[in-house]
């Protein structure tokens, strides 16, 4: 049944090229765990190491307490869903789903029962005798999913399973995947570069960059309290500003402009210095247009009305450009050239060390072992 997966100092090399230098983490039993990162970050490589299609150059991978480094894929009891579905084109839907069971010692009768049940779960019973070429992308994806789950694998691995579907189907399928995973309760490792998709389906997300884990946490925590500047800018949209912090009388003051200071009660500074360089991440929705004289001065450069929200680009008095998102209101949209004052929602913004770019904001929960 479902297992936990432990990685100890995993190394992946292609020739002299090290893709994953040393990676350690744990995936809990039954959780939906997503590897998220830009292309080339090593997320698919890592997934294929779990599957057994990539060799492991160093370190150990355990399923529960069993070392699987040298087990061939056939013996790892995994279910895998591929980016291009990899549905066998010469077999019917039913035969595709039954394929894995036929390789195990399962009676004919039980194969039939389990295939029937699984076809119902993924809602493709009506197409059981069709060949894959007569199915839509979404239906093929359901076949691939059914085929991977029906063998009751210890781990379900999914490699960007939705990237070949159109936008609407993608949302539909990700809900279906989430629902089915909850129902069967298999430990699932999911690879994607789409952060919205990752947040929608995952229990926890590991954000990767250049073969290293940046942050492991719940979608909410990763979005609201990113561990470093990279995570802040990769997940959602944000504006990064170089600023300074001043510690005075035990209070930490963030100096946003010469005239706009805010007192922060949730940042940790070790140095008691006059000017501590920091990077501030302010998401577009964390700005407010001030109705008073308080705030950073700026000029509207452009606006874009998108229905639910209205987006603005504003040039600050410091010369930086920031993106702002406001819920659309009945009031007139601010035209380019309008002078504005900007305030920030201080409990929401994140502050990072100016050099290490690591968060100094309280509330970061990072399960990455670093």
């Amino acid at each position: 049944m479902s297992v936990s997966i432990t990685f100890n100092n995993i190394v992946k090399k292609y020739g002299d090229n090290t893709v994953i230098p040393s990676l350690s983490m744990g995936i809990r039993q039954g959780e939906f765990f997503t590897l998220l990162g830009p292309s080339g970050c090593g997320k698919t490589t890592l997934l294929r190491m779990i599957a057994g299609f990539n060799s492991i150059e160093g370190g150990e991978i355990f399923f529960n307490d069993q070392l699987i480094n040298n087990k061939p894929p056939q013996h790892r009891n995994i279910g895998m869903v591929f980016q291009n579905y990899a549905v066998f084109p010469h077999l019917t839907v039913e035969k595709n789903v039954a394929f894995g069971l036929e390789n195990r010692k399962v009676s004919k009768q039980e194969i039939k029962q389990r295939v029937d049940r699984m076809l119902d779960v993924v809602q493709i019973s009506n197409f059981r005798n069709r060949l894959p070429e007569n199915l839509s992308g979404g239906q093929q994806q359901r076949v691939a999913l059914a085929r991977a789950i029906v063998i009751e694998p210890d781990v379900l691995l999914m490699d960007e399973p939705l990237s070949n579907l159109d936008a609407k189907l993608r949302v539909e399928m990700r809900n279906a995947i989430r629902e089915i995973q909850r129902k069967v309760g298999i430990t699932t490792v999911y690879v994607t570069h789409d952060q919205e998709e990752a947040m929608a389906v995952s229990d926890r997300i590991a954000v990767m960059k250049l073969g290293e884990i940046q942050h492991i946490g719940t979608p909410q925590n990763i979005y609201h309290r990113p561990a470093n500047v990279f995570v802040a800018s990769f997940i959602g949209r944000t504006n990064i500003l170089d600023r300074t912090c001043v510690v005075k009388d035990g209070k930490t003051i963030l100096q946003l402009t010469d005239h706009y200071f805010i007192e922060m009660d949730n940042i940790t500074v070790t140095k008691n210095d006059n000017k501590i360089p920091v990077k501030v991440s302010i998401r577009p929705e964390e700005f407010m247009f001030s109705r008073t004289e308080e705030g950073m001065s700026g000029t509207v450069i452009s606006n874009m009305f998108l229905g639910l929200n209205t987006h603005y680009f504003v040039e600050l008095e410091t010369g930086e450009q920031v993106e702002i998102i406001q819920e659309s209101s009945m009031e007139k949209i601010l035209e380019p050239g309008t002078e504005v004052k900007l305030m920030v929602k201080k409990e929401k913004i994140n502050v990072f060390d100016g050099e290490t770019e690591k968060s100094i904001t309280k509330g970061v929960i990072n399960d990455a072992k670093s």
């Binding site: 299609f53 061939p72 056939q74 895998m80 990899a86 394929f99 894995g100 390789n103 063998i151």
Partner: protein, 551 residues
Amino acid sequence: MMPNHKNRDIWSVITIAILILYAIILIFPLFTILKESVVGGESGQFSLEYFAKFFSKKYYYGTLFNSLKVTLSVTILSAIIAIPLAYIMTTVKIKGSGFLQGLIVISMMSPPFIGAYSWILLLGRNGAITNFLKDTFNITTPDIYGFTGIVLVLTLQLTPLIFLYLMGALKSIDNSLLEAAESMGCVGYKKIIKIVVPLLIPTLLSGALLVFMRALADFGTPMLIGEGYKTIPVLIFNEFISEMGGDDAFAAAISVIVIILALTVFLIQKYVSNRKAFSMNSLNPIQAKKEKGWKNFWAHFYVYLYVALAFLPQLYVMYTAFLKTSGRIFVKGYSLDSFKMAYERGGDAIANTFMIGFSALALVILLAILIAYVTVRRRNSMTNLLDIIAMIPYIVPGSVLGIALLLSFNKPPILLSGTAFIMIIAFVIRRLPYTIRSSAANVLQISPSIEEASMSLGASNFKTFFKITLPMMLPGVISGAILSWVTIISELSTSILLYTARTKTMTVAIYSEVIRGNYGTAAALSTILSVVTIVSLIIFFKLTGKKDVSI
């Protein structure tokens, strides 16, 4: 890639076994020929006397120039005819274009020497058209024998090769490229010369290479219609099978010269086409448009004229098969006597063709599947070597291979000359490069994740190959096999060297009947061969749903 050492070894064993097989049936014979060519007849020492002999007399080295002249003319003419043909068939709606393409393929797949024979029947000294023009208008037609005839026959025969390559390339040109050119004022002939032709150059180069190799190696055509005009394959054949006792070593030396020539051309072509290579991807292919007026007329005229020239002579051969004959001459009236004669004289040959052809085909399929799979999916230095070796026959003319096999296997421990087995070996070696290529293209289209999916579901590597990969390869392999079959049964240049009375094939029988002047019997046998070819091709078209073939 696969961390499964046991199964990796099984594929390595297969690779090594095939490499050893190639070493025996291809590398060893080629070395034998090289050895024979540089060892002096009397001294038994290293000597270049045979090469000196070749370059000392015009009678010998003249054939090299003849071959080059023929080959270059045929290659250039084929390209000149094929470019407009392919362009018209792609851009203009031609009535019955699917059927015409089928005819073009059939005309390409039939043996070239039947083409030569049919032109002799039409324009030869006693040809139907020659006589008709002489009797009715008192016009003397130009002499068809010699250089003109060879070039005529081979050009008509090989134009379809370039044509099919070009049709494929034109399909991959995105129409928006042409529209972009038009929007910038580049239209008409300017558009064709500045945009279309440059886009076709890489394809044209690879098609031209194939035509060059075929024309260089062709033996039957110059033998039948060349008369005094000797090309290299004819010289090799004569020197080897001379009635006054052939000179094996001299034939070997000429063979080496031909291989060097073919290799040089091959390398030049590779060098040039690598520099010109680019890839195209068409979302919006060119659509054939209905044209009006003169443009429409000339388009149809050109296409129909070509197809008529390429195909009608063969129809005429079939027609003569049903004519009454008296001795060697056709007389008035129709009968099936020629077929009776064909069966009496060539019955064994028909049986041999099927027996040897099917045996060769079975081996070709088996080896092509294994080689294609290991060279695409198990890339390592050993499979790369196999890939290169398997392509060698591409530049070795059939007659050279025939001599190499005879010289190598005419004495124990491996005594094969005179057996059907040596012919099967020759057919397998010659056909494999093409079948491997089409099968490899097939394997490439199968996504590796399909195999990974199978393994992730618990199937062993071998089970994955037999239950997943092989069934997915099969449609492509079968269609490739039908083409191999057609080429095998129409093969002449190797069989003419290897056959004995017991292993005579249809092509050899037709050739000997033509040489003896038994035109009726030859025509009947040709008709049977053509019918088998056409039926095979129709099965191919039905099976693949394609209108063209990839060679």
